[in-house]
């Protein structure tokens, strides 16, 4: 397995929102959005990035593509470090991103056919017949060629989703980042998109980074998972291992929190209390300690490191080995 993209000790911090008179107070405070993120995306595999809103997962995706300036660490693609905007610009042909809201991520006053072939025009790829190429792309995602004349607002959510898949895959990228690829879709159709993504991954060997808060989906589509909490990775590992034996209490809570459609599995207790604290008031020590049932004094004082707890599985918890569900 070769690493396609790696991030090492990535930090992202933004200037603190301040009063209009901020220029009077030099030395601006910053908030850490992402802290010390290290992860690897292997070629031909799917990595699921899981986190609740405010965990920084979308910021991480933007940082990986150079859309969000980083304040520390290093991002490498094909073992080559990317440091300058020009470096990221060279990445554009081999990476693609799908956004959460498919209709909003299509240019509202441009016909679908033209949007689909945008990547070719941008990268000056010779395209003898633009219309034929659009039809071919539409066909690949199971849409009729007649959609090429439509505008985005004339599409249904499912159609727009497929158009976005087609556009993302137009130049056969090697890495596709998909932010909530099934958001807003009915359960009966979300499988179609996931099947399509998997089929294309198997055909073309691209690497997928799927960002979501939908745990059951991650469980069935990804090879590896990375779980984020308040801008930090708190557990990573092979999907099977993590789901079978989650080591971090937050992961355990997430898995246990998922509502069960089977009334016979109804829970009587509550796995987790409280809410994710605001990123402006990051807790001392372990970020999760104020919601953790197992928190000790050590957790309140010293932030734990991300360490290997079983083969390939990493957790950021002082007591990962000794905790039981």
């Amino acid at each position: 397995m070769t690493a396609l993209m790696t991030a090492a000790n990535l930090d992202v911090s933004l200037p603190m929102p301040q009063s209009p008179l901020q220029f009077l107070t030099p030395g601006r405070a910053t908030i850490d959005i992402l802290r010390d993120i290290s992860l690897t995306i292997d070629a031909k595999t799917t990595l699921g990035l899981v986190g609740e809103s405010g965990s920084g997962k979308s910021t991480l995706a933007r940082a990986l593509l150079g859309l969000q300036p980083i304040s520390g660490g290093e991002i490498c693609f094909d073992q080559v470090p990317l440091t300058t905007p020009a470096g990221f610009q060279s990445l554009r042909r081999s990476t693609a991103m799908m956004f959460q809201d498919p209709i909003a991520s299509l240019s509202p006053r441009m016909r679908i056919g033209k949007q689909l072939t945008e990547p070719f025009v941008i990268h000056r790829v010779v395209m003898p017949d633009r219309g034929a190429r659009a039809a071919q792309l539409l066909d690949r995602v199971g849409l009729p060629a007649s959609l090429a004349d439509r505008y985005p607002h004339e599409l249904s959510g499912g159609q727009a989703r497929r158009v976005c898949v087609a556009r993302a895959l137009a130049l056969s990228p090697r890495l596709l980042i998909a932010d909530e690829p099934t958001a807003g879709l009915d359960v009966s159709v979300q499988g179609e998109i996931l099947n399509l993504l998997r089929q294309i991954r198997d055909e073309t060997g691209l690497a997928l980074l799927i960002i979501t808060h939908n745990l059951p989906m991650v469980r069935h589509v990804s090879d590896h998972v990375a779980i984020m909490y308040l801008g930090r990775l708190i557990e990573t590992g092979p999907t099977r291992t993590v789901f079978a034996n989650p080591k971090h209490p937050y992961t355990q809570n997430l898995i246990a929190s998922k509502p069960q459609p089977d009334p016979r599995k109804r829970r009587s207790d509550l796995a987790i209390k409280g809410e994710i604290p605001s990123i402006l008031r990051r807790p001392e020590g372990c970020e999760f300690h104020n919601r953790c049932r197992f928190a000790q004094d050590l957790c309140r004082q010293h932030p734990p490191e991300l360490r290997e707890v079983s083969a390939g599985q990493f957790a950021r918890c002082h007591y990962a080995e000794t905790l039981t569900k």
């Binding site: 693609a96 909003a104 991520s105 299509l106 945008e118 941008i122 159609q159």
Partner: protein, 290 residues
């Protein structure tokens, strides 16, 4: 496949949508009427608008002069028809130019670096703090009255407003998903601005422009009435109104005849602008669908 033909019906064309509604239709007819009056003025006007015929001054309406003649015996109808040319030329040229400049400056401010944005906003604010009429009078005093001065004044006064509108639109588009998507595809700034920002900010601007045209027509008429606008003998609805006012006792029809096109053109452009706004607003379209 689940999503082959489930899309909503195609929206009807803009013109048809306007024509379907009585107010929109009225606006459309009036505006088209005044436009063709301006374009075909030499063919429509029965007389030369500046040809003086003192023998026939202050004629009441008659088959020969349907709107009568003025104090110099010029045919009022012909002067009204050519007046449309003056009014619309000034209105369209000045709002059009102001729109183009506003569009450019607004997009540069909205999409460009922060420092440039701050500077441009400062300039816009400085200019829009000028009181319009006072500024117009000052400029006319310096440059002298005339069509070009009028256009210049209107440009200076209206560009900041348009630029600020476009800037706000651009700023909200800048962080939208589809611009972000273009960036992930590697599109250049120029490409993003021309292909993706521009088409989305032109709509609101067109609406504001069409609503502003009657304001400019009124301004031109007002200044011409005060003899600060178009210089005689060029016919303008404003100076016809003035001539009518001075000779109200002998020829009361002149004031009325000169007032009618002003009222109708204002109504026409306002109606059209209002319905244009409704027709271009996607939210209202959706409400009509389901």
């Amino acid at each position: 496949m689940s999503c082959v033909d489930e899309s909503p019906a195609r929206a009807p064309g803009l013109i048809r949508k306007l024509a379907r509604d009585p107010v929109g239709l009225a606006g459309l007819i009036l505006v088209l009427g005044f436009l063709s009056m301006a374009v075909f003025a030499p063919y429509l006007a029965p007389y030369d608008p500046i040809k003086i015929d003192v023998l026939n001054k202050f004629q009441p309406p008659s088959p020969a002069h349907p709107a009568g003649t003025d104090q110099l015996g010029r045919d009022t109808l012909s002067r009204i028809i050519f007046g449309a040319r003056t009014a619309l030329t000034i209105a369209l040229v000045s709002t059009g130019l102001a729109g183009v400049f506003g569009l450019l400056l607004g997009m540069i401010a909205g999409f460009g670096p922060r420092l440039l944005d701050n500077f441009l906003v400062l300039v816009f604010d400085a200019f829009s703090s000028l009181p319009m009429i006072m500024f117009a009078l000052a400029v006319i005093t310096v440059l002298g009255p005339g069509t070009n001065t009028l256009i210049f004044v209107i440009l200076i006064v209206s560009i900041p407003g348009y630029a600020r509108l476009i800037r706000a639109q651009t700023l909200s588009l800048k962080n939208s998903d589809f611009i972000m998507a273009e960036r992930t595809m590697g599109a250049s700034h120029i490409r993003i601005i021309l292909w993706h920002v521009l088409p989305n900010v032109v709509g609101p601007l067109v609406i504001v422009l069409s609503m502003d045209i009657p304001v400019v027509i009124m301004l031109e008429a007002g200044l011409s009435y005060l003899n600060l606008g178009v210089r005689p003998p060029t016919p303008s609805w404003g100076n016809i109104l003035y001539d009518g006012y001075t000779s109200l006792r002998f020829a009361p029809t002149m004031v009325i005849v000169a007032g009618i096109p002003l009222v109708l053109s204002t109504i026409g452009f306002t109606f059209l602008g209002e319905r244009l706004r409704d027709a271009l607003d996607p939210k209202i379209q959706i409400r009509g669908l389901r």
